[in-house]
């Protein structure tokens, strides 16, 4: 689409980083997501993290599946190659790509539908293989692009925009990833830029599979407990229409709170989300404790944020497979083709 709907977010501080680049150099095309969509906040945080880390954008590969979230890579790092693949299968594309050239930085962007439903198998096996990539789940508990069905990360008994109740328990991707052997697992909130940017930076610097499960509210098909506030009028209006097609313009939801503290965030539909940030003295190197903590917070209706688990010394897939340091895609014919001479032995062996 060549139509411009939203102004490019001009950063007031046009300072430059060590590479002499400004934040603007890390931006992408103009977003076509709904005004106020959490996914746009995450894109902004990625831009910020890349800027701060002095990343050469063209050495980044942006990969995604299908969904609103999976469109997001178009909205940051214009100088990076992108691959918007098929629904739920980004991890396999990333695996092949990263084996072909381990020198690029791989950012995978997915949604909760893309990851936890159709894509759960690839997610699991990619984590298990310790692929060196940063995997973003832009988690809104709903299928944004197909208009608001429940996703598998939606909370049990929460209500949809149309009043339906979610009947099934949520899949918790971080605890799954930790169990599978992912070596960097964190959770955050799209609106908490203070927490998000450092986590993204850490994840990008980590070698091995890094999962960032980021709660990212969907303005349009918001998924949290229906607590009927200001959004009500429109909801009722929508229910009465045969084609609910009105999306009120939303604002980005933000929050900021300290480690060890909790924060109650009001969502677009007026409901609240209860975030709890891990305390400063939390030790994220013990899997068993990490999972227990997550489970306990779940039981208490809280969403634990922060770096949940990390193993800085873990091997990544390239090392596990003992692959040469020269990227495979740069090996020359001379390095690859055994040539006519080697064929003689082979032929002889087959006689």
């Amino acid at each position: 689409m060549t139509y411009i709907t939203k102004p490019i977010n001009h950063h007031p501080r046009l300072e430059s980083n060590k590479l002499g680049l400004t934040r603007r150099d890390y931006e992408g095309s103009v977003s076509t997501l709904c005004a106020g969509c959490g996914h746009d906040s995450i894109s902004a945080a990625i831009v910020e993290a890349c800027f701060q880390l002095n990343i050469e954008a063209y050495r980044v590969a942006k990969l995604s599946g299908i969904g609103c979230s999976s469109k997001a890579p178009a909205y940051f790092l214009n100088q990076s190659h992108g691959f918007n693949s098929v629904h739920g299968r980004m991890p396999s594309i990333a695996t092949g790509a990263a084996m072909a050239n381990h020198e690029l930085l791989y950012l995978g962007v997915s949604g909760d539908g893309d990851t936890a439903s159709i894509g759960i198998g690839q997610f699991i096996h990619c984590a298990r293989r310790q692929l060196n990539m940063t995997y973003f789940v832009e988690n809104n508990g709903t299928y944004g692009l197909t208009k608001g069905q429940f996703s598998a990360t939606n909370d049990l008994e929460s209500k949809s925009k149309y009043g339906d109740e979610n009947l099934f328990p949520a899949i918790d991707l971080p605890s799954m990833a930790i169990q599978l052997g992912a070596s960097f697992v964190a959770r955050s909130f799209s609106g908490d830029r203070d927490q998000l940017v450092p986590l993204i930076k850490a994840a990008m610097c980590h070698k091995g599979f890094s999962l960032l499960d980021i709660i990212s509210p969907c303005v349009t098909f918001n998924n949290h407990n229906t607590s009927t506030k200001s959004y009500d009028y429109i909801r009722e209006h929508n229910e009465a229409l045969s084609k609910p097609d009105f999306v009120p313009l939303g604002k980005e939801i933000t929050t900021s709170y300290e480690p060890g503290e909790s924060s109650e965030v009001s969502l677009h539909d007026g409901s609240t989300l209860s975030l709890t940030k891990l305390a400063l003295d939390y030790d994220p190197t013990d899997k068993i404790i990490a999972i227990k903590k997550i489970q306990e917070s779940q039981r208490d209706g809280k969403v634990l944020t922060g770096l949940l688990y990390a193993d800085p010394s873990a091997k990544d897939l390239k090392e596990i497979l003992n692959i040469t340091d020269q990227p495979l895609n740069t090996l020359t014919q001379e390095q690859l083709c055994p040539g006519k001479s080697a064929l003689k032995d082979i032929n002889d062996n087959l006689k």
């Binding site: 299968r89 014919q333 087959l350």
Partner: protein
């Protein structure tokens, strides 16, 4: 008693129990014949099971080099009492039946020669370890055969020595087992058998190997650095061949690190996704699978077609549909591959007919995929992939260079005004691509399966999308000029009757053609080697009034492709179909042709 008498031309069939170690022994028998200078075509007829069920191993020995399956068994090595009934039935009159006479048996046929060897007894006497007692019965009958057929025993002794190189302590008991059988035959059946293997020189320049082995090696030679796969019979050994050869030929000197990545994926959807990812990034990657895998891959194949990412897929076909007959052969994935995925798609297929061509076409597949920026599917089948064939030696021309296609370097980009990923600059329908990470601020684009314009931008403009789709048709036209041309059995067409065939059918077809020639029926024959069809294919069809098209499937899928793509008058295309899971035979084809020509339906159904 009548005895079949023949030199260097017979079919021997081994009947065994699955998991009893017979496959290696039977293979060794075949290799011994091959080393004697006579072409062989061993075929393993195995159940979809690991242990305890009947399994057969059929070896055609033929000095003229007819390597297709032939009906009728001359020698039956019946080592499995469960299948005695079937085994006896197939044996030709005057044939030889060899069995384990530790338990004596009357087989109820007067017209065959029964040769008993008390294998179990002999092995129990000789070996103490119960596992060895079981295992060595197999080498016992190999020794027995060596004597019976008047073969050079030393050939087998060297084969044993070669096989157990590095595990020398295993040589002695194996040789001993061989000797047991050999001596028993020398003592009891000296000069009994009128079938003989006489040394010859017809295997010069030949090797004995399988299509999967050859294709795996071809991938190494073709520069593939990436393979993702999921186990499935009969394609598994292709991936394993690539891995094995890579372990030998692709280890970096000094670091001992791998110049390749080999990944067992969690399923076929992941395997093809990884393959596409690797190729997107400029490495040559492939996957190998069989029918069910093709079905599962079809969404991704459509993505690679539309987003124009090279990728190489081997489909070693087995009996379909569904799980079907996983250990039997068919050529029934043609349509599933040619038009894989929803929407308007057409894919490039390469169809080798013997292991040597499997090697060549694997290499070719990577060049074509890179040149055309599209999936290339190499269509093999179980018979070609898993069985050993006497085939031409592999060859490689050191002056040949990989064709990596239209890829822009940093320097190319520097010199360019504006890069358009999907611009048809050269008018051949093939655009230019860039690898990720090439240039700091030029050449980046978004690869996507959604509709896009020439600059890879998402568009919902239907006309723009239709332009892209139309260009893909142009590319397809280009592909038809680049893919391997058909092979003709004659320099010039001289008959009004033509035969069209492809793939593993070749070996039986050569025999059919000779038979027809002997019957003074003049026909022209063309072996298809690729889809889309090139001009030569259409000309051949044009030049003939009646065309037989021979396929190992039910629905005449190649005929469908010809009609769909070429506007052929259908009446002139007569199908000869075989879909019982067995490799097609020369006499089957010949009978069908004769029956059609004489207007009498053929007997074999």
């Amino acid at each position: 008693m009548k005895k079949i008498s023949s030199i260097n031309d017979f079919v021997i069939k081994f009947a065994n129990v699955n998991g009893s170690g017979s496959a290696s022994a039977n293979q060794m028998f075949a290799k011994g014949v091959f080393r004697s200078g006579i072409p062989v075509s061993p075929k393993n007829i195995f159940p979809s099971n690991i242990q305890g069920l009947p399994t057969w191993f059929e070896v055609r020995v033929n000095e003229k080099g007819y390597l297709g399956r032939r009906e009728g068994i001359d020698i039956s090595v019946a080592m499995n009492p469960q299948s005695y009934g079937d085994d006896i039935k197939e044996l030709k009159s005057g044939g030889y039946l060899i069995y384990d006479s530790s338990w004596k048996r009357d087989f109820g046929r007067e017209d065959i020669n029964v040769l008993g060897i008390p294998l179990t007894e002999l092995c129990v006497n000789e070996f103490s370890n119960p596992k060895q007692r079981l295992l060595f019965k197999n080498l016992g009958y190999v020794g027995f055969l060596a004597s019976l057929l008047k073969m050079d025993k030393d050939i087998y002794i060297s084969l044993i020595n070669e096989q157990f190189r590095g595990k020398e302590k295993l040589i002695e008991p194996n040789v001993k087992a061989l000797e047991i059988g050999y001596s028993y035959a020398e003592e009891n059946f000296k000069d009994f058998c009128d079938i003989q293997v006489n040394k010859s020189n017809k295997t010069e320049g030949l090797i004995l190997t399988s299509g999967n082995d050859a294709a795996g090696l071809g991938c190494v030679y073709g520069g593939a650095t990436f393979c993702a796969w999921y186990p499935i019979t009969p394609s598994t050994s292709l991936a394993e061949s690539y891995s094995d050869y890579s372990e030998k030929l692709r280890i970096e000197i000094g670091t001992d690190k791998n110049k390749f990545a080999f990944i067992q994926a969690e399923d076929e959807l992941a395997a093809i996704g990884m393959t596409i990812g690797a190729n997107w990034n400029g490495a040559r990657g492939f996957t190998a699978t069989s029918g069910p895998g093709i079905s599962l891959m079809s969404e991704f194949i459509g993505l690679a077609y539309f987003a124009e990412v090279p990728s190489v897929i081997f489909d070693v076909q087995r009996g379909g549909p569904s799980t079907g007959m996983p250990t039997r052969t068919q050529q029934s994935d043609l349509l599933a591959c040619a038009y894989a995925s929803h929407g308007d798609t057409k894919h490039v297929l390469l169809i080798p007919s013997d292991p040597n061509e499997c090697f060549d076409f694997s290499i070719e597949a990577f060049d074509l995929a890179d040149r055309l920026q599209t999936p290339v599917i190499v269509l093999m089948d179980l018979d070609l992939g898993m069985n050993d064939w006497s085939t031409k030696e592999f060859d490689w021309d050191d002056t040949k260079e990989y064709d990596k296609g239209k890829v822009l370097s940093k320097e190319d980009l520097d010199g360019m005004e504006k890069f358009g990923r999907y611009l048809d600059v050269d008018g051949d329908g093939i655009p230019y691509r860039t690898y990720p990470g090439t240039h700091p601020n030029k050449g980046a684009y978004f690869t996507r399966g959604t509709s896009h314009d020439e600059y890879a931008r998402y568009t919902e403009d239907g006309d723009k999308n239709a332009e892209v789709l139309s260009r893909l048709l142009k590319k397809y036209q280009t592909a038809s000029e680049l893919v391997p041309k058909p092979v003709f059995n004659q320099e010039k067409s001289t008959s009004s009757i033509g035969i069209i065939y492809f793939g593993s059918t070749d070996c039986s077809m050569q025999e059919t053609l000779d038979q027809l020639d002997e019957e003074n029926l003049n026909v022209d024959a063309m072996r298809l080697r690729a889809f889309p069809f090139n001009l030569e294919v259409w000309e051949f069809i044009e030049d003939h009034d009646l065309l037989f098209i021979v396929e190992q499937n039910r629905d005449g899928q190649m005929r469908t492709l010809m009609m769909a793509e070429g506007g052929i008058i259908p009446d002139k295309l007569v199908s000869i179909l075989c879909f019982d899971g067995q490799p097609i035979t020369a006499s089957y084809i010949k009978n069908k042709i004769n029956a059609h020509l004489s207007g009498v339906p053929a007997k074999t159904a």
